[in-house]
């Protein structure tokens, strides 16, 4: 029996080392002075960070990715919020089917999604431009907004609203002062989650970028393929910093168990 426990602990320790390993290595190797990437980094410097921050090209791409992710997150959170209001408050026909449809983009392999989006964007003549990327990211992030928002709404007790209204609050006032504050954690989670999904997305974006337009992850990808310059390590380290900030915010807003408990809460309690 102890052999089993030792084996179990060993696997767990190995995996908990395996998961953060590439991230830690990227951060450490970003401080190299050398012109190639290797580990250990040798002599240390901030040379590659300086290179990143003095490159208008890289900064513009960072700005574009941030804007794209922010717009996609707001659009999908807002539209999902409206839809979820309808689904959780009104007995609609085919709610089950609707939910399957909303989560549908999740069950397609990403390479297939890329081709689907490319075809779709082509119809609007948005191939290789910002609107095309935005439409694709909008569609892709909806499932990620749906879960936290619906979970928050199903937990929310409608009797509180009825109490406010029976005390004389008009509907819109009730909505603003009672409903929205109660749903805020769910909405913030949806915004942060969709932001990071869009900001990190690379496989589908690969199909939609154009000669003059690229998202940060796609530009990183093509730079790794072309030159492998250590500037990639510096940018990666900055992105990891971004992600840490968002994970920290998510932990503050709602707690990390949210990621695990999503399934559990999805089941209607009423």
């Amino acid at each position: 029996m102890t052999a089993w426990i030792v084996a179990h602990r060993t696997i767990v320790a190995a995996v908990l080392l395996f998961l953060p390993a590439p991230i830690i290595i990227v951060i450490l190797s970003s401080f190299t002075k050398a012109g190639y990437i290797g580990f250990p980094p040798g002599e240390l410097s901030l040379r590659w960070y300086a290179e990143f921050f003095s490159s208008a090209d890289w900064l513009a791409t960072l700005g574009l990715s941030t804007l794209l992710a922010a717009l996609a997150a707001m659009l999908s959170t807002f539209v999902t919020f409206l839809g979820a209001l309808a689904v959780t408050r009104q007995r609609l026909p085919m709610t089950q089917g609707l939910e399957t449809l909303i989560l549908l983009p999740l069950i397609f392999p990403h390479a297939a999604l890329g081709v689907i989006m490319l075809g779709l964007v082509g119809i609007f003549g948005w191939t290789g431009n910002f609107l095309g990327l935005l439409l694709a990211h909008f569609i892709l992030t909806i499932p990620y907004a749906w879960r936290p928002i619906v979970a928050a709404m199903r937990k929310h007790d409608l009797a509180v609203e009825e109490a406010a209204m029976s005390l004389g609050a008009p509907p819109f006032y009730t909505f603003r002062k009672v409903t929205l504050p109660l749903l805020r954690p769910g909405l913030v989670t949806a915004l942060l989650f969709t932001f990071i999904i869009s900001f990190d997305e690379v496989t589908v974006s690969l199909f939609l970028v154009g000669p003059d337009l690229s998202t940060l992850p796609v530009k990183i990808f093509s730079t790794i393929q072309d030159s492998g310059s250590p500037v990639i390590a510096a940018i990666s380290a900055i992105l990891i910093g971004f992600t840490i900030a968002i994970v920290f915010l998510l932990d503050r807003v709602i707690g990390l168990e949210l990621f695990v408990a999503a399934e559990q809460r999805r089941k209607p309690t009423a």
């Binding site: 998961l19 190797s29 409206l82 609609l92 297939a112 689907i116 609203e161 690379v202 990390l256 695990v260």
Partner: protein, 277 residues
């Protein structure tokens, strides 16, 4: 607040966007049946007539299957450990969630640094004197599977963990106090009850590994083509949308062939578990 007919109005934007997605999907399927010689099954016939495409298909299945199995074997013990952890679970979760939320390109780049000829692992093994010349860990199937397992195993861990967290510890204690040993308890109580999580994890990881492009392109060799990378190539080196569409439909079909039966199985298992409880 009751919504009445407003409900449909609120739902409208969401339905429009989803409609666009379905339209894109329809267009994809339509293009795959429209080869240069008019509508028909030509593009599919061409696919299955080419030995190199069949190779790509088989390699996709093999790499995705291997990734799924490895992920399952390393994720299950970790999920169990986290579920039973007595201290601050948040710190363990960060170790899983943070890598999971970092972009695939960044993580894949990390693996290049670790597995490359001048990388950490070869440097370390050389320093130990275990190897004379660097091991070839990159630009082959080993590299691709290591990278894909890293990218996707957090999904597996989270799926299994979700089930474990719902599982009452008392059930295990009851089984032990009724005289079952730890192994028997695991085999007859823990394992069957965790099956829904295992199935949904397997589904997710398999599905996503079949459609990967970035990791096989960066960590795989020239011969490690998968359906995803092949689609990318048809699209951007040969500019052949109908062919890329055909490959995408075949890719989706390959994924669904495994995923849909699993979904059915998951429902059955969940229902049986509920019936037994």
């Amino acid at each position: 607040m009751r919504l009445g007919r407003w409900a449909w109005l609120l739902l409208l934007p969401l339905l429009c966007v989803l409609g666009l997605f379905l339209f894109g999907l329809g267009e994809l399927v339509w293009s795959s049946f429209n080869g240069p010689d008019g509508p028909g099954l030509d593009l599919y016939r061409q696919f299955f007539a080419r030995a190199d495409y069949i190779d790509v298909l088989i390699r996709t299945l093999w790499v995705a299957g291997l990734t799924t199995v490895v992920s399952l074997f390393i994720s299950y013990p970790v999920a169990y450990f986290i579920a039973r952890f007595q201290g601050r679970r948040d710190w363990l979760l960060v170790l899983i969630l943070l890598p999971w939320l970092v972009s695939v390109v960044v993580r894949t780049y990390g693996w290049i640094v670790i597995l490359g000829n001048r990388g950490l692992l070869n440097g370390f093994l050389g320093w130990l004197g275990v190897i004379d010349s660097p091991l070839r860990l990159l630009f082959n199937t080993t590299g691709v599977v290591i990278g894909l397992v890293h990218v996707f195993c957090p999904f597996m861990i989270l799926a299994i963990l979700a089930v474990f967290l719902q599982l009452e510890r008392a059930l295990e204690e009851a089984s032990m106090s009724l005289g079952a040993g730890p192994l028997e308890t695991f085999r007859r109580v823990v394992l069957p009850l965790s099956l829904p999580g295992v199935i949904s994890g397997v589904m997710l990881v398999y599905l996503m590994s079949t459609g990967a492009i970035i990791t096989p392109l960066l960590l795989g060799g020239l011969r490690d083509r998968m359906l995803g990378t092949q689609i990318y190539q048809e699209m951007f080196q040969l500019f052949d949308f109908p062919k890329a569409a055909t490959l995408a439909v075949i890719l989706t079909a390959t994924a669904f062939l495994v995923v849909l039966p699993l979904q059915w199985l998951e429902r059955r298992v969940s229902r049986n578990l509920k019936g037994a409880a």
